[in-house]
Every structure is written in structure tokens, then in C-alpha cells.
Amino acid sequence: MVLNYLANIGRFVPEITLIVTMVGLIFVEATYGDEEKGSSKGYLYATAYLGLLFTLVKLIGSLGDAPIAIYSNSLVIDPFSTMIKIIMVIGTAACIHLSRRSSDVYENLKGEFAIIAVGVLIGGMLLASANNMLTLYIGIETLSILSYVLASLKKNDDRSSEAGLKYALFGGISAGIMLFGMSHIFGVTGTIQFAGMLDKLKDLDTVQIAILMPSFLMFFAGIGYKIACVPFHMWAPDVYEGSPLPVTTFFSIVPKMAGMAVLLRVTMVFFSGDQNVLQMSWIATLSVVAALTMTVGNVSAIGQRSVKRMLAFSSISHAGMMMMGVLCISEIGTRAIVFYGITYLFMTLVAFYITSFVQDAYGNDHFERFNGLIHKHPLMAIFMLITMFSLSGLPPLSGFIAKFNIFSALIDKNYYVLAIIAGLNSVVALYYYLKIVKLMVFKDPESDEKIKGFGFTNQLVITALTVPVVMLGIFWDQVLVMANGAKIFIVQ
């Protein structure tokens, strides 16, 4: 037994590295942290970057390894989870870098941001690998509880505190509902292992189905809350707006991808078999929720004044788009989601990075602050413009290819109506993305004041993030092969 555990550690190194990094960060902050001087920052970020870099290298190295279930089947390390973890690690690193540059995170709290972000990442990684109900729940809670703290990071700001409280309340309730659903699933199947449940789900009588149907709905509520899909999205806009900008960026990447990964895994594990009533009702639920999520997210984004809030709504609609890939329950669907995740990561980062520097320079992130950006910072404005076009799904940018893949998965399963709904939604989305483009290009700048945030390093970082946004739209063959390799391993 003990040997078995030790043998498995090899596949668990990324997570362990992150735990060590997190503890190390706490020590660094405690030892060198000095509110006056802020002298600990160098060590702190060095530790964080090193830890994340090591994790990333480890993850990329293990992409080709055979899938395996470790620790009594509680975790499964397969190419799919590794891929999602890579996305989340890059996202976390970029967000920590952003928090370092952003004035939206108070100087004395930057250390805390890094520590908690790594903590959330650990939760997300557990979630991506979860192979039984317990790991899933622990993952979700680790992710959530730390997120509540992140949301209220601006301690003195009313809106930030409100965001934290709202997040915690919603999160607590949905976790409770989810647990309730899980307990019923456990009651019917008698196991918490996904592998064991799979056998039980094969032959069910009517009563059991009658119990399982609402239970799965409740189970879905918990996951749905994490990815902020309608009707569990109510918290998202306020939380996204109230939180400091780097936190918003973080929220729209890491918890979302983790939630999407677990939703996909649950769907693939439980419902990829023969057609039955449970499967059909699950697909129906997902279809309605996905369509609603996209539509509500997009329609609400139109009227926003704050770019951050607009991006928050747009990230809700992107979650809806990714869910369309989930409900296909096919390998093409999985591949599409992985591809979508990769492109979504870069697009979101570029958009939030630029918004962050604009906000720091002009005090807020209202649309008007983008006026005439192209006259002041042509390169940055062009990157923002590319990202906006990519987010709305215009070729030859990566956002289009991501959408193309999702459409392909939908039509492969003959879900034409959903494809059309998704298509019409991207027209709506184009409208509000164009709004920023319009302001940046057509309007004259409000003031001549340059944006200090666009220093050389930051421009370099933003350039590095924009390159994939363009390149993945043109040379996506190899990336698709990679995404194709990210298969979900179903433990029998």
C-alpha cells in the first residue's frame, strides 16, 4: 500500500510542487514582507515564477505519458487533465505578473495575491483530475474558499467586500446543493468512485432513475456555479466587477477552466455509453443551459459601460460556447474544448492586460477611456483590436478556429439548432466587441497623456500573448493534433 502510494508520487509532482511553492511563498512573505519597503517582492515573485515554471515544465513533459489513475482511483492523470492544467498554470502565472504591475492590487497585498492564486490553482488541478466525488468536492471547495478571499482582496473597498460576500454566499449555497445531490447519487449507486458508479448506472430501475435525475441536476448546479452558467451566473458580474482587475482575469480563466474540465469529465464518464433516459436529460439540460448562457451573457454585455464588466459577461458567453462542446459527448467535442481553452486563455489575457493598464492610467475602465488609443499606442491598440476580432470569432484569428471546432462538433452530432443559436450569438458578440474597436480607432483621444503601464517589458509580455492569438488562427494544424491527443481516460 505504502509502496503503491510512493510509486504514484511521480505522477503527482506538479501538484506537490505547487503546494511547496505556496508554502514557500508564505515563508518568503513572512520573512521578508515589509509593508514600508516592499522589499520582499523580488524573492516572492522569483519563488512564484520558479514554482510555476517547474510545474509547467513537468506538466508539458508528462503530456505524452500513459493515462493512469492514482491514489485508489481518486485522481486520474490523463492527457486531458494535463492539458487543462497547463492552461491553468500559464493563466495563473500571467495573472500573478499582472497583479505585480497593476495598481488595482494594493502594494502590501501583492504577496497575498500570489499565495492565494497558487492555492486556487492547486484546487483547480485537483478538480481537473478528480475521479471520485470526494476529490471533486475537495477540489471545488479549495478553489472556492480561496476565491472568496481573492474577491475581497481590496479590503477597504466596499464593492470588493461586497463581491467577496456575494461570492461566498452563492458559493456556500451551491456547494450545499451539490453535496445534497451527491449524497443521493451515492445513495443509489453505493459508491463515490466514478468507475464504480459507471457500472451501477448501466442497469437502473424506474425509481432509481427518478431519484437520480434531480440528483444529477443538483450536482450540476455546483459545477455550473463555478463556470458561471445561466441560471447560476447571478454572482458573476458583480464579483467580476468588484474584484481587483487581476483577480477578475484570474477568475475568468482558472476556476472556469477547472469547472469546464470537471463538467466534461463527469459528462464523458457517466454519459458516454449507450443512450438512456439519464443521458438524454443530461444532454437536454446542458443544451438549454449552454444556449441560455451564451445568449444571456452576450445580451447583457451590450449595455455595459465598464470594459471589465463587459469582458466578464463575454466570458460567461464563452463558457456557454465551451459547454456546447461538452454536450456533444464526443472526441471531437473534447478536442474542441481543449482548443477553445488554449485560445480563450490568450485572448482573455491580452484583453485584460490592456484594460488593466488603461484603467491604471485613467482611473477607471469605462469605454470612453479607450478613445483614440491607436493614436497614442498604435501597437497596443492593434493588439487589442486583434483580440476583439478574435473574441468575436473572425478569421483568420484563433477565436474563429476555436468556434469552428465547436461548430464542427455540434454539427457532427446533428445539433443544427444549437449551432445556429451559437452563430447568431457571435453576431451579437461582434457588436459589443466592435464598440471598443470603434472607440479606439474612430475617436480622438481624450487627453495626450500616455499610458505609463505600456513600458517595454509589458509591451513585450502583451506581444508574447498576442502572437498565439494570431498564430493559432493560421497554423493550427499541430495544435489541433495536440488537442486531439488530450483524451479523457475513463477508469473502468
Binding site: F389, L394, P395, P396, F400, F404, F407, S408, I411, D412, N414, Y416, V417, A419, I420, G423, L424, S426, V427, L430, Y431, L434, V437, K438, V441, F442, W476, D477, L480, V481, N484
Partner: protein, 513 residues
């Protein structure tokens, strides 16, 4: 499969080389930017002429010598596949010519010259991409990419209400292309996702298979080919624009700068009809035949409705914009005939409308540079122009040529194509032919009425200070004048190019009638 010549690559990427060059030129050197763009478009024009020289009129399919095919995305069997045939060749000639002239006619633009020419050349490359792509995915990419430079060209260099026009144009076309995207992916999966599933040429082979298939939509079984024909139809119809999808056009035209109006009316509208001929018709021949009457009726509505709308306009640019709607109706009508004369007439009309309407827009641009308004009758009821004939004799003569060509007067290019269309349609839809002929009459009426109000009568005071066309303007009007007159008397150079390809399409469609 690839041919021996790399010419299509050169044509497609030459404008992009131009863009890169512009980015290197310093901001202050506006003159260099203009000359560079002129040289670039001239080289492309030269390459097009070379392509025309090498074009084999006897071939009815693709010109194999020029075909370029390379794998792009192996996972989806998407190829970088460029080829040219008799339907796209006239469009390529038109594009090369009009962009060259547009560089000349935008000489006076002084706002962000670099950006303007870079976007113009970028647009040119995208337009070539649409006409040259024989892979549906590649086609779609270019179809959409083209929107981006158009959006900025209208939005930055346009008139007062330019932002609204730019956004409306963008959203409308994007809506259409989304439906096309769904159709494209459906076709891919319907063919089994095998090799060449995105190839526009290979998809034709599956036409019979599509006819038998059904799609379940909300529990109803809908015939596959009819459903996706409609999707494609809407996508292309917005571009043409076919009534009732035409409402973006007048805004875009009125707000766009002259050169962009020329491109929009001269080339971009043809993309819609080209899309029908390249994609919707050959891939869904059954549905095409099934819906042919609808297409004819829509074409007819375009003709009559566009003509009446044009008559009501007091802004001369809007008038010409609506006349485009009317003229594109003839193209639709010719296509709906599905006879040899009808389709040949339609393609010829695409080319001829490109030259004649480009002339009209260029002339209005010339006038606008002098008057800074375009009112035939100002909103307060006073005359905007009057007696121009005595003031601007050269201008008036060129205007008369353009107007008569647009009207379809015998001896000028518009007549040949319209006559062919009527010949083609008459045997099929006799009543419609008669009504469409009435449209021709209304067309003559609004154009002559406009001419009377602007060029005859008392000279309006401010018109006295206008100068006649200068050498540059005469220079860029000349090729179009020559084209309009020469192809009016001797249309065979263009007809010979297209005949083979168009007739093979007619044969294909005839099987399903």
C-alpha cells in the same frame, strides 16, 4: 495537382507585399506611399494581364496550368487551393483594374495616408482570395477577412455618419456568413469528413448525395440540400444585396469615401453573385432548380424596387447606390434563368456593372471634391447642382457615357449583358421579362431625370467656380470609358473567357430540371 505557374500566388500576395512596404515608409512621406501603392497595383494589374494572356478559353473547368494546391490543415483536409476559371477570371480583371484606378482617385486623401493605402491593398488581397479560393474554408476566411479593412475604410475615411454605416455593414455581412459557416461545416460532415471535403470542386461530386439527405430540425425532417441552399443563399444575398437584405447598402455607399464606394459596388457586390455561381448552384443543383422561381422573383423585386428607390433619392450617391440594387437584380434574374444566354448574360452583367457603376461613383467623387455636397435637391428645396453641362464640358461627356452604359443603351456595355439576360429569361418567365423590361424603363427615367436636374437648366451660382476634370482624373476615367465602349461593341473577349465555365454550369443544372 499543382500547375506549373506560380502566378496566382503572386497576384494574391502582391498587395500584401505592398502593405509591408507601406509599413516601412516613414509617416511623413505621404507622396511615397501613394506612388508605392500605385506601382504595386500596377504590377498586380500587369500580372493579371499576364494571367489573361495565358488563359485557355477552350477549358471549361479550372485552368490547370495555374492551379496551386497545398495541404494546410491536415486534420480537416483543408487545402490552400487557388485556381481560376471562366467565372472568376472576369472578376479578377475587374478587381485589378478597379483597385489600380482607386489608388489614383484617392490621391487627394490626406488623413492617415499610410493607413488608408495599407488597408486598401489589404482589401485587394482579400478580394483576390475570395475569387481564387477553391477550398471552402479558405474562401470563407477571405470572405470574412475582407470585412475588416472595409470596416475601417468606411469608419475612418467615411462621411458624417460613417460609424453607423461601418457597423451596420459589418454586422449584416457577418450575420450572413455565420449561416454560411454552419452550411459549410454541415457539408463537411455530410461528405463524411474525408479528403477534399472542403474542396469546392469535390463537393460538386456529392450533389446527388445531398439531395437524398434529411436534417432533423426541432423534430421536423427538412431536406438537407434545400435547407443549406437557403443558408448559403442568405449569406450571399446579403452581399449582393438582394431585397430584403439590402438595407446596409445605401448607408455604406453614402458614407464610404469614393474609392471604397467604387470597390464596394464594382467588386464586393459581385462576390455575392459569384458565391451563387461558385458554391450554391453547383453544390445544390437540385435546390437551385427548386428555388429558381424565388430567385427570379427576388431579382425582379430588386430591379423594380431598386429603381423606384433610386428615383426618390435627392442624394446623387444614394441614387447610384440604389441603381446598383436594381442592376444586381438583373444578374439574379439572369442566373435564375439557368439557360446559357441567361447565365452568360449574368456574368457579363457582373463585369459590365462593375465598370459602369465604378464610373458613376468615380464621377460623383470628382464632383464632390469640388462641391463638398451631393444634393440634387437640397433638403430646403433649392437646387444643389444646375447647368453643369455648360460649366464642365469634359466631365459632362464622361458622365453621359457612364450614364448611358448604366442605362443599357445599345452600343455600350450594359446593353449586351441585359439583352442576353432577357433572351435567356424570356422563354422561361415571360411575364417577369415584361416587368423587368419596365424596370429598364424606370432605370432610364431616374438617370435622365437626374441628368436633367444636374446638368441642364440654370447654372447654380456656386457651380460657376467648379473646375473641369484635371489630367489625373481624365487619366483614370479613360480605361473605364474605353472598356464600356469596347465591350459594348465587341464583348467577345470577356464572353469567350467565361463561356466554357458558364456553359458547363448550365449543363450541370439542366440535369436537375
Amino acid at each position: 495537382m499543382s500547375g506549373t505557374s506560380n502566378l496566382l500566388n503572386w497576384i494574391l500576395w502582391m498587395p500584401i507585399l505592398g502593405v509591408l512596404g507601406i509599413l516601412v515608409i516613414p509617416k511623413a512621406k505621404a507622396g511615397v506611399v501613394r506612388l508605392w501603392s500605385l506601382a504595386n497595383t500596377f504590377i498586380t494589374l500587369g500580372l493579371t494581364v499576364k494571367l489573361w494572356m495565358g488563359f485557355d478559353n477552350a477549358l471549361s473547368g479550372m485552368q490547370d496550368a495555374f492551379t496551386i494546391k497545398m495541404p494546410w490543415i491536415k486534420q480537416f483536409h483543408i487545402n490552400y487551393h487557388l485556381a481560376v476559371d471562366g467565372i472568376s477570371m472576369p472578376m479578377i480583371i475587374l478587381t485589378s483594374l478597379l483597385f489600380f484606378l482607386c489608388v489614383l482617385c484617392s490621391w487627394k486623401i490626406s488623413k492617415q495616408v499610410r493607413g488608408y493605402y495599407a488597408l486598401l491593398l489589404f482589401l485587394q488581397s482579400a478580394v483576390y482570395g475570395v475569387f481564387l479560393s477553391m477550398d471552402f474554408f479558405l474562401f470563407y476566411v477571405y470572405w470574412e477577412v475582407m470585412l475588416i479593412p472595409m470596416f475601417f475604410l468606411i469608419g475612418i475615411w467615411g462621411g458624417e455618419n460613417r460609424e453607423y454605416a461601418a457597423v451596420k455593414f459589418f454586422l449584416y455581412t457577418f450575420f450572413g456568413s455565420i449561416l454560411m459557416l454552419v452550411g459549410m461545416i454541415a457539408l463537411y460532415h455530410a461528405t463524411g469528413g474525408e479528403a477534399d471535403s472542403f474542396s469546392l470542386l469535390a463537393l460538386r461530386e456529392h450533389a446527388d448525395k445531398f439531395i437524398g439527405m434529411n436534417v432533423s430540425l426541432f423534430g421536423f425532417d427538412v431536406p438537407f440540400d434545400k435547407l443549406f441552399f437557403v443558408f448559403m443563399f442568405i449569406g450571399f444575398a446579403i452581399k449582393v444585396p438582394v431585397f430584403p437584405f439590402h438595407t446596409w447598402l445605401p448607408h455604406a455607399h453614402v458614407q464610404a469615401p469614393t474609392a471604397i464606394s467604387v470597390i464596394l459596388a464594382g467588386v464586393l457586390l459581385k462576390m455575392g453573385t459569384y458565391g451563387f455561381l461558385r458554391i450554391a448552384f453547383p453544390i445544390f443543383p437540385g435546390a437551385t432548380v427548386y428555388f429558381s422561381e424565388c430567385i427570379a422573383v427576388l431579382g425582379l423585386i430588386n430591379i423594380i424596387y431598386g429603381a423606384f428607390c433610386a428615383m426618390a433619392q435627392t442624394d446623387v450617391k444614394k441614387l447610384i447606390a440604389y441603381s446598383s440594387v436594381s442592376h444586381m437584380g438583373f444578374v439574379m434574374l439572369g442566373m435564375a434563368a439557368m439557360t446559357s444566354q441567361g447565365l452568360n448574360g449574368a456574368v457579363l452583367q457582373m463585369f459590365n456593372h462593375g465598370t459602369s457603376t465604378a464610373m458613376m461613383f468615380l464621377l460623383i467623387g470628382i464632383l464632390y471634391e469640388r462641391s463638398h455636397h451631393r444634393w440634387i435637391v437640397r433638403p430646403d428645396g433649392s437646387k444643389g447642382f444646375g447647368g453643369l453641362y455648360t460649366q464642365l464640358p469634359v466631365y459632362s461627356i464622361v458622365f453621359i457615357i457612364a450614364m448611358f452604359a448604366s442605362m443599357g443603351l445599345p452600343g455600350l456595355s450594359g446593353f449586351i449583358s441585359e439583352a442576353l439576360i432577357f433572351l435567356g429569361i424570356y422563354s422561361k418567365y415571360t411575364t417577369m421579362t415584361v416587368i423587368a423590361l419596365l424596370g429598364l424603363l424606370i432605370g432610364a427615367a431616374y438617370l435622365l431625370w437626374m441628368f436633367k436636374r444636374m446638368f441642364f437648366g440654370e447654372v447654380v451660382e456656386e457651380c460657376k467656380s467648379y473646375e473641369d476634370m484635371n489630367a489625373r482624373e481624365i487619366f483614370y476615367m479613360t480605361p473605364l470609358c474605353v472598356a464600356v465602349i469596347v465591350f459594348g461593341i465587341w464583348p467577345s473577349p470577356i464572353l469567350n473567357i467565361m463561356k466554357g465555365s458558364v456553359n458547363s454550369l448550365v449543363v450541370l443544372l439542366a440535369k436537375y430540371q
